[in-house]
Structures are given as C-alpha cells and as structure tokens.
C-alpha cells in the first residue's frame, strides 16, 4: 500500500531523481580537526603522565585563546580575498598601548580600553582603504602598514616598552572562576559570538558574498568597498584585543610580542578548512585549527625540542594538515563510507 502511494507520487511529480549527500565537506573538516586535536592530547600521555590531563586541556585552551582572537580577524580578511600581515604589529601596538597608557592603575579604564582598541581599528581602516579603494594588493598594503605601526611603536617606546597593564586586567587574565582560568570563559563566549557573526549574521553573509565573487557582489548592489574595509577593521580590532590580553597575561609588553602569532593566525584559518582564496570558511574550523596548532606547540615545547626543530616540525604539520584536509580527501572518504552505508 505504502509502495503504491510512493510510486504514484513519483510518477505524478516527474521529480528529478538525483539526490544530494547529507554531510557537507565543512562539517567533516571540523570533526576531523577536533578529533585530531583530542587524539594528540590523549596520545601525549604516552610521553609523560602529566600530559593528557584536564589541567593540560585547560592550559591549551588558555594559550590558544590568544591565537583564536587574532585568527578570527584574519579569517574575515581571508574570507574577502585578502591577507592581513599587519597582525603582529597591531598585537604589539595593542600591548604597548595597554602597558604604557594604563600604567599599572585601574583609573580611567572605561576610556582607555576603547581608546586603545580604537587606535588599532584606525590601523585596520587604513589597510582596508588601501586594499579596497586604492587597489593595493593586500599583502603589500598590510605589510607596509604593519611596518609603519611597528616603527611607531619602536619610536614611541624608544626601544623598551615601559609600564604595566591595569591590575584589573592582570587579575582577570591570571584569575580563576570555578577552578577554570577566567580567559577560558571569554574564549567560549568569543567562539559563539564569532561563529554567529561570520556564518549567521547579515554582515557575515555579505562578507561571504564579496569574497565569493566580488564583481557579482558589486553588481548585486552590495557596498563591497565598505565591507572590505570593515573586515580589515575587525581584524585590527581583534589583533589589538589580543595584544591587550597578552599584556595582561605577561604583565607587560615587548616589541616582539606579536611575532609568533602572524603565521599561526593564517595557518589556523586555512587548516580549519577555509579557502585561502577567499569566499569560503567558518570560524569553528578556525578555532579547531588554533587548538591543533597550540596543542602541537605545547607538546613540542614539553619534549624539550630545540626552537629550530620545533619550527620545522610545526611547519611540516601545517603542510600535512593542508594537504590532508582538502575537500577532495573528504569527498573520497564520503564516497567510501557512503557506499557502505
């Protein structure tokens, strides 16, 4: 009886019999990358009993939060077919301003925080205008802006950043809530916020469109230039915020504090399944990428491997991940499992 019904329906509607797969490549990438991270943490138990514990997970979450903050901005810029090489300098700018302006007191924080972040946003707006309206290639524009910002920091501090972040900030960065480091909560809130902004907001949808096909976005009547500028502005905002958090974490700023975040910020985005060519990507994947890279760095450091070898191994893993996490590899896996199921 049921069969009969199904057949008459199919006949009446003349439906296209071609079907679609249910699982998207994006979803598989995210599962794979989080799975890989968890597997690495568990496997690291074999190296030392102190590994693989909850406290190590906390440490990784804590340390990765800095990378997650700045990789979010990087992700938006990459989404609109750009690249932000000024991230390291803007982190430094955020950190240096935090230490020198707050100068170890809680006074006037309500003005200082927006001021510091505002200064960083201005840097991003300059980069964005260069890219969107003056048509300077993104990597040249952001590299030049980064150099200028770094030189300003150098001049401003005369080579040695002084001062301390506000005690409130340091306390937050070093404090615990219900036994878990306070910044981990901030990280969780940020991940939800970032995911919504990038994948579910009207703003994020427009950025997706601009990155996907800039010409079509223009013809469809989107303010492409403004959207591109805003992506760079958000990236600088995130980098400045990262610098502020780092200053709170280390109770001070250095001129090189941002350097170790530039390449990982790009790697986290790309390892997380976003296309380096723009127009495709989601923040959850980037978070997975950041966790993976941080876990790797933690393990390599704990093993006492020299810095040079450590960098080489990190580079190797990033390369492997990029090759392995391509859409084709998952299409293949999906085919294999699809046939069995």
């Amino acid at each position: 009886m049921q069969n009969d019904n199904a057949m008459t329906n199919a006949g009446a509607e003349q439906e296209d019999k071609r079907t679609t797969a249910k699982v998207s490549g994006e979803f598989v990438t995210i599962v794979a990358i989080f799975g890989l991270t968890i597997a690495m943490i568990l496997a690291s138990r074999a190296i030392s009993p102190s590994f693989g514990s909850w406290s190590q997970v906390e440490t990784i979450l804590y340390l990765s939060s800095f990378l997650v903050f700045c990789a979010f901005g990087q992700g938006l810029v990459i989404l609109v077919r750009g690249l932000d090489l000024s991230i390291a300098s803007v982190i430094t700018l955020g950190g240096v301003l935090t230490a020198s302006l707050m100068n170890g007191s809680n006074e006037g924080l309500i003005y200082l925080v927006p001021m510091i972040l505002g200064a960083c946003v201005i840097v991003g707006v300059v980069s964005g205008i260069g890219v969107a309206y003056l048509r300077v290639p993104p990597f040249i524009m952001t590299m030049a802006v980064g150099l200028i910002v770094y030189s300003l920091c150098l001049g401003f501090t005369r080579g040695t950043p002084r001062g301390y972040p506000a005690p409130l900030l340091s306390d937050f960065m070093q404090g615990k809530f219900l036994g878990v480091p306070a910044p981990v909560y901030l990280l969780l809130v940020f991940v939800v916020f970032g995911t919504v902004l990038q994948s579910y907001s009207a703003f994020g949808r427009k950025l997706n469109a601009v990155g996907n096909n800039p010409l079509a976005a223009y013809i469809a009547g989107l303010p492409s230039g403004l959207l591109i500028v805003s992506a760079y502005a958000v990236s600088a905002l995130c980098a400045g915020f990262t610098g502020m958090m780092l200053a709170g974490y280390a109770s001070g700023a250095t001129l090189r504090m941002g350097d170790s975040y530039l390449l990982p910020s790009i790697a986290a985005v790309v390892v997380g399944g976003s296309s380096i060519l723009g127009g495709q990507g989601n923040f959850v994947g980037t978070v997975g990428g950041a966790l993976l890279l941080t876990t790797l760095a933690t393990i390599l450091t704990a093993l006492g491997i020299e810095q040079g070898w450590k960098t080489i191994m990190e580079g190797g893993v990033i390369l492997l991940a990029l090759i392995a996490l391509r859409e084709q590899s998952f299409a293949f896996l999906r085919d294999v499992f699809g046939k069995r199921g």
Binding site: S201, A216, Q280
Partner: protein, 505 residues
C-alpha cells in the same frame, strides 16, 4: 547499421553533493553526426567533460572503437582520437592563433621550441585544410572577435579528431553555421563521428541524423530525427508537452508613466543616445556584436560611469555611479549582466542566499540571518521565474546554467526595482527555461514595470518586444513598432541599412 565508434553504458558522475549524471547509455556510429539534446542541467556538459577527459566518471563504462575508454586528461583523450571544441573557449588569449592550433604540440622537439616560421607554416596548413581563409596564423587570439575565436577553437578540434569530434554549442557565437556544417560533412566522410550539442533545433535537424535526449542526468531515448517533430523532442526533453511558445505582447498605453528617461547619454561607444522606457512595455534592443549595447546596459545598471547625459528614473534625476545607486535611484533599476559566472552568481552560497542577498534584512532578525526565513523570502520570487523550491537549499555552483540564470533573475525581482535591464537573459538556456523567463518578463511589465532587454536571437526580439530598438555604431538607428516587427527588418537596420533613420522617442 554502421559500426559504433563510441559506446557508453550507465555512466554516472557526482560533484560533491550533486549528481550530474546518473545513467547515460548511448552509442554513436562511425561517420554519424549525433545530437545530444536536453534542457540545461540535463547533464550534457558533464557528459562532454567525461568524454573529453576533463573529469572522470564515478561509475559506468565507455568503449571507443571497441576498446575500453576512460581518459584522465584532455591530451589522453586526444591520443585516442577524441577532440573537443569547448563551449567556454579553451584558447590561450595572449598566444598566436598558430601556437594555439598546434598546442599541446607546438613543437615537435621535446625541449627547444620550433622556429616561429615553422609554427606559422604548419598552422597555416591546418587553417587551409579546414577552409579558414580570413584568420591569420600570426594573429593574437585576444585580438580576435568572439566568432573568430570560436572558429579557431573548432578548427583545432577538427584537426585533432580522428575518431570522435565533440562540439559543445559550437554555433553559440557563430553568425553563420554553413562553414561549420561543411567541415563536419568533410570530417564524417572520413568516417569520423561527431557529437553535436546545441539548443538550436533547426541546426540540429539540418546536420544530425540521430539524437539522444537526456533529462535529469539520464538517457531518455535515442531517436531518428526524421521520425519525430519538434514538439515530440520538446516533450522528451522536459517530460511534458510544450506551452504555446509566445503569446502576443502588448504595447504600452500612450499615457503610461515614463519610468526611465535618458537624454544625450554618452558612454563608451554610445554617442548621445535618447531613450525612454514606459510602464507596461518590454523594449527589445537588436544590434550586431560590439555596437555599444554593452556600454548602454552597463551604464543603465550603474556598472559603468556615464560620460555625459541626463538620466531620470521615476521622475527624479539620477546619477548611476554604481549598481547600488542604480537600484536606489527613484523607482530603481536592476541589472542582470551578460556574464553569469563572473558577474552573477555566488557559487558557494545557496540559491536562497543568492536570491535574498539584496534584501537580506528581510531574511534576518537583529542582524542574524535565518535560513528558513531566507527561503521564505526567496520562494515567492523563485516561483515567478519557475525555479523549483527544492533548489533553494542547493549551492548555486552545483545548479545548471538555466537554473543559475533563474536565480539571477529572481535576485533582480526581489529588489523591487520597477525597471529591469537584462542583457541576453535567455542566452544558452534550454527551451523550458526560456519559456519561464519570457513568462516572468510579461508578468513583470503587466504589473507596471518596464524592461529593456538585449538579445542575440532575433526571433526572441520579434516575439517578445512591445517595440524594438536597433543600435548601430553607438547610436539608435531604428525604433520598430510592434506591428512592423520582423526579423528581416531588424537585421537590415542592425547592419546600418535602415532607410529611415528614425531615432527612438
């Protein structure tokens, strides 16, 4: 029955989530010209790609001249004697015609390139063999017109095809198919088979003997073309009988509101052009290639800055500096450009997102976009272009060209603009999609809107336009009223032979 050169059985191909071919079985005989017919999205392009080695099938088998055939590259297919003239031309723009013709073997030696004169000499032979007299072997491809490039593309395929020649929409840019038909006859006389893909049934009937009809990625039937009429073929392609092809368009009422008024517009090739579009009329534009129609359409759509002139939209003076401004100018002008892939679609976004993008605020609450809301918002305009709601959740990149075009038209409709500026809206789409597009255009003007459209097919202009303008050398040279519209009249005017140089109102 002649011997079968190519045989496919149960070919299937998936692209990520989308199944493009599910079961294609056909046989092409030696020396035969075999047509592949089907709507856009039926799987024709995918079949071409599999046969020519661009992509590989997921399952099913092919034999070529009795041996298994499964090419994994274009050059491997060519080694087996299968050559393809692609719809999206595959020539290298900054190289000469000669070098392109001889690629990938521009040189007979493995390292040092052949001398320039040798390349010219050998390619001149190829051009002569295939009766191409007017294209010089040392011309740079990007300097050629689209029609000339298409002939180079076809000539290259002709010269490589020793068993099977695949022609994918070969006449899309060719003004006159006679040259092509003659070459096809010469090739088949040598026993080479030809697979001919075209939307133009008239041509297909002229050159092909048999046709295989595809629908939804499956072979429906292979028929002798002499034994079936156009309606029969159409029914096989879409799975239903054809609607009456065209209904009579109406002219605008004399007192109808003028929605767009253009005075003295100069932009690109366009020279001081006057034009007015009234509510309720579909204004066609006929022109040969490159008479300034692109410039006019882009300027009206805001995609090119007008050099000079005054444009009034809905009674207000408007500066159309960008498509965004054009949409917001008075009653609004929505522009659908010629290049679907590069200027139209967002391949990674769903059809619903593509449609709803200009009105994204309607699909969101507090800045958050809801997929369900987005589908609801786009469903209404999707139905106006007869886009099946089940495609709304698909990524546009995985849809067929015809459905992509429907998505673009739906996006223009959702903006609420009163004036649509459509550049060849039905080019390269199948009969069923064409009907949907025509119906949408008529409904739109019946609802008080106005449409300016360009078409490369004269019959479309004749049947659809309330009046038809003709452009020549950047100027409007004729404004032909509905009652006087014939293809001959338009053609004469488009060649500049218009006896009355009446300028459009």
């Amino acid at each position: 029955m002649r011997e079968g050169v190519l045989q496919t059985s149960a070919l299937s191909k998936r692209y990520g989530a989308t199944v493009a071919l599910s079961d294609v079985s056909l046989t092409i005989a030696q020396g035969e010209v075999h047509a592949i017919l089907g709507e856009n999205g039926a799987g024709k392009s995918t079949l071409v790609k599999i046969l020519s080695g661009v992509v590989r099938s997921n399952s099913g088998g092919m034999t070529l001249a009795g041996e298994a055939y499964d090419p994994h590259s274009i050059s491997r297919a060519r080694e087996r004697g299968v050559a393809t003239a692609f719809q999206e031309l595959s020539l290298i723009p900054n190289m000469t015609v000669g070098e392109n013709l001889l690629l990938p073997r521009a040189s007979r030696r493995s390292f040092w390139p052949d001398s320039r004169s040798s390349i010219l000499h050998r390619s001149a032979d190829v051009l002569r063999e295939w009766q191409v007299a007017d294209i010089a072997p040392d011309a740079i491809v990007e300097d050629l017109s689209l029609a000339e490039r298409q002939r180079v593309e076809i000539t290259r395929a002709l010269s490589h095809a020793s068993r099977l020649l695949i022609l994918d929409e070969p006449t899309a840019a060719l003004p006159d198919p006679e040259w092509l038909f003659e070459q096809i006859r010469r090739l088949t006389a040598r026993g080479v088979a030809v697979m001919y893909i075209s939307h133009r049934l008239g041509e297909v009937r002229e050159i092909c003997e048999r046709a295989t009809v595809l629908r939804n990625g499956q072979t429906i039937d292979t028929v002798d073309l002499s034994g079936v009429d156009d309606d029969g073929i159409f029914a096989m392609m879409v799975g239903r009988s054809p609607d009456s092809a065209f209904s009579e368009p109406v002219a605008a009422r004399p007192d109808a509101e003028v929605i767009v008024d253009v005075r003295g517009l100069s932009v690109g090739k366009v020279r001081s052009l006057d034009l007015s579009l009234k509510a309720g009329e579909i204004v066609g534009l006929a022109a040969l290639e490159g008479q300034g129609q692109q410039d006019l359409f882009r300027a009206l759509g805001g995609a090119a800055r007008p050099g000079d002139g005054k444009i009034t939209v809905g009674g207000q003076a408007a500066t159309l500096g960008s498509p965004r401004r054009a949409l917001r100018a008075g009653a609004g002008i929505a522009f659908v450009p010629e290049e679907r892939k590069t200027e139209g679609i967002f391949a990674n976004l769903t059809a619903a997102s593509n449609i709803a993008l200009p009105e994204i605020s309607r699909a969101s609450h507090a800045g958050i976009v809801y997929a369900g809301l987005e589908k609801n918002v786009s469903r209404e305009v999707a139905s106006k272009v007869a886009l099946s709601p089940r495609y709304l959740g698909f990524n546009v990149g995985s849809l067929s060209g015809g459905n992509q075009q429907k998505v673009l038209l739906a996006r223009a409709l959702i903006t609420g603009a009163k004036c649509l500026v459509l550049f060849d809206p039905a080019r390269g789409v199948d009969v069923g999609t064409k009907q949907s597009i025509y119906a949408m255009m008529r409904d739109f003007v019946a609802g008080g809107g106005t449409i300016l459209f360009y078409s490369s097919e004269l019959s479309e202009l004749v049947h659809l336009s309330s009046r038809c303008l003709v452009m020549y050398g950047g100027r409007l040279v004729a404004d032909v009223a509905r009652e006087e519209l014939t293809e001959e009249r338009l053609l004469a005017a488009a060649h500049g032979h218009s006896h009355e140089m009446k300028v459009a109102v």
